[in-house]
């Protein structure tokens, strides 16, 4: 019970569900997201949905390393910042469209992640965590001091001249559509991963690193590939954030807090599950937005306090997160009433 995380409990039910049904469900959800994203007119709701989609993408990407791989990565802000800065710098210095800059940022982040993954192979648990924290600090310090390229602590602004070719839109819905696309990409990748060899290798690594390591090269490769994919997705999110907010600086895209948020949302939603991080993101973004709106900020820290408590409780008592709880409730209901089938 203790060492089994939720994914091993969910895996069989996923397999039990026919592939066709899962795909159909997936298509329906994605379709609904796109329709909502393009039809929504209230700008505030569009913004809220954008924040949720971005947060879900980040949490989902983090989950690949932290949830499936069980590695305590606390430095994903570095990749977020690298994505944001790479596309913005390429646009400002070489007039390269952020669409391509975004890919360049993702590639750069993936390469760095592979490098870090390779040199930290021997490090476990907290040591790995501290290395990733220190790595992010180094990136932040470099960005802060490389004034001519990054604008130092003053940061960079992205001009707002609506032109779809330059990833700049006159309406918010277009940004939202990009965010939905990113989220769909992230979660489709995790869903596929969970069902393929990569996912099983990661799972094995997490459950028993020593045994998996004795399998050798494959496990190492799985670890590096997952780290690279995760970093690339987070970097894409970084560019999206930069284009949407129109300004970036070391505090807004490279702070420790961002790394923590990704891990927090992923864990509260359900570590190592496919859609858990999305649930975590929905819960985090809506609750903070609602509390801010209700209390006009009087009790802003209360939100963090509640969230921290919830986080601890989830870690101690319900490591399946919100998703795990939902499944448990459903299972219990099913058992009691003896009907319905369990599929996620």
């Amino acid at each position: 019970m203790n060492t089994n995380t939720i994914s091993t409990r969910i895996q069989p039910s996923l397999q039990a569900a026919s592939l066709g049904r899962t795909v159909t469900l997936w298509v329906i959800i994605v379709g609904a997201l796109y329709i909502t994203a393009s039809r929504l007119t209230d700008e505030h709701l569009v913004d809220l949905m954008f924040q949720i989609m971005l947060a879900a993408s980040l949490a989902g990407a983090w989950n690949i390393v932290g949830g499936f791989g069980g590695q305590i990565a606390l430095g994903h802000a570095a990749f977020f910042g690298i994505g944001a800065y790479t596309s913005t710098i390429l646009f400002q210095h070489y007039h390269l469209t952020p669409w391509i800059g975004m890919l360049a940022g993702a590639l750069f982040a993936a390469l760095l992640a592979t490098l870090i993954g390779a040199v930290t192979l021997r490090l476990r648990g907290p040591f790995f965590a501290m290395t990733t924290v220190a790595f992010t600090e180094l990136v932040r310090i470099i960005v802060k001091n490389w004034d001519s390229l990054t604008g130092g602590t003053r940061g960079l602004w992205i001009p707002w001249e609506p032109n779809p070719w330059n990833f700049s839109f006159s309406d918010r819905n277009s940004y939202l559509l990009v965010a939905v696309t990113l989220a769909v990409l992230v979660f489709s990748t995790t869903a596929i991963m969970a069902k393929t060899k990569l996912g099983f290798l990661l799972n094995a690594l997490r459950e028993d690193a020593d045994a998996a390591r004795s399998v050798g090269v494959k496990a190492t490769r799985a670890r590096l590939i997952s780290f690279a994919i995760s970093a690339a997705f987070v970097a894409l999110g970084g560019t999206l954030y930069a284009q949407y907010s129109l300004s970036i600086d070391p505090t807004s895209v490279l702070s420790f807090d961002i790394s923590i948020q990704m891990a927090l949302m992923s864990a509260v939603g359900g570590l190592g599950t496919v859609i858990g991080p999305a649930l975590g993101a929905i819960a985090a973004v809506t609750s903070s937005s609602l509390l801010r709106g209700w209390f006009g900020g009087e009790l802003g820290a209360l939100h963090l306090l509640l969230y921290g408590v919830l986080f601890i409780l989830v870690m101690l008592y319900a490591r399946g997160g919100l998703l795990g709880m939902a499944i448990n409730v459903k299972k219990r209901l099913t058992r009691r009433f003896g009907q319905g089938q369990s599929d996620v």
Binding site: L74, R124, F127, A301, L304, L305, G308, F311, I312
Partner: protein
């Protein structure tokens, strides 16, 4: 020459302060194998407690023992309520629970005390010790000296007392310790209590030097990580030596290279150490690859 000596002594004192900051972190890790990501927040707690006691008329150094025991109690309770359950769980859970504690403590401090800066200002706050042309602040000297004494006391406690022996036995092999009848749960609770007590004590001794505010802990956590990884996670003398190395590096690089260079200097060294000799200068080789439940 004066400048060199001044920098040397300032750096050593700063290093002593860092050693003091890191003592609790390394102790907790050495025994329970938990890296406490809320370490800096417990230092913050110690600073707030000292501030309020000072407001009530206590001298900060008289308040220090009170703060130590208060934090000891907080540590035991925290361990009992939250961390006890995580001992058999993966690292991820341990790290995340301590991260959760740090989030809660930060938010709590902000709700209770607002984001104001508080300063503890004893009458001797500006007192100096002068040796020739070299000038050193009294408060920093006290903090550094007490760091030495604290390390020695904890060391003695581990070596000379019954509880200490039990703690050491547990640190070496919890299963064997259990077999010979050591109540591991109590050992862990006491260790965590002492560790948090040390963090609180560090806070009390830092309070006359630095202001306290809700987010002050993060910087202290980061420095402590650098220090203990450098010295060797789990090693008491390692924390002190790591602290001195970081303190000297910071002071000299700030003067001879640039004040901005010092952060980059120590994070680079941190990463290099982690990569080349993750066990640190004095740590047990191989501890970085220790399995989940040891």
């Amino acid at each position: 020459m004066d400048i060199f000596l001044q920098l040397l002594l300032s750096g050593l004192l700063l290093g002593g302060v860092y050693g003091l900051l890191s003592l609790g972190l390394t102790l907790v890790f050495g025994v329970t194998r938990i890296v406490n990501f809320a370490h800096g927040e417990f230092v913050m707690l110690g600073m707030y407690l000292t501030y309020f006691l000072w407001q009530l008329g206590f001298d900060p150094y008289l308040a220090a023992p009170v703060v130590f025991f208060a934090c000891f109690a907080v540590g035991v309770v925290t361990q009992h309520l939250l961390l006890r359950k995580t001992l058999t769980m993966p690292h991820l859970v341990q790290v995340f629970v301590t991260l959760g504690i740090s989030v809660v403590m930060q938010a709590g401090a902000q709700l209770l005390f607002t984001s104001n800066f508080y300063f503890v200002r004893p009458s001797y706050g500006n007192a100096m010790v002068e040796i020739g042309n070299i000038r050193l602040p009294l408060t920093t000297i006290i903090a550094a000296v007490l760091a030495l004494i604290g390390t020695a006391l904890v060391h003695l406690f581990l070596k000379k007392t019954h509880t200490g022996a039990a703690i050491r036995a547990t640190a070496q092999d919890p299963y064997a310790a259990n077999v010979v009848g050591i109540e591991i749960k109590t050992v862990y609770a006491v260790t965590f209590g002492v560790g948090i007590g040390c963090a609180g004590l560090a806070g009390a001794l830092l309070a006359p030097i630095y202001p306290v505010y809700p987010t002050v802990g993060l910087a202290y956590s980061l420095i402590s990580f650098v220090v203990v990884v450098l010295g060797g996670l789990g090693s008491l003398p390692g924390a002190l030596i790591g602290g001195l190395v970081v303190g000297l590096l910071e002071t000299f690089s700030a003067y001879y290279i640039s004040p901005e260079a010092k952060e980059a200097t120590y994070f680079t060294i941190f990463i290099i150490v982690l990569l080349l000799r993750p066990a640190g200068l004095l740590g047990l080789r191989g501890s970085e690859t220790m399995g989940a439940n040891h």
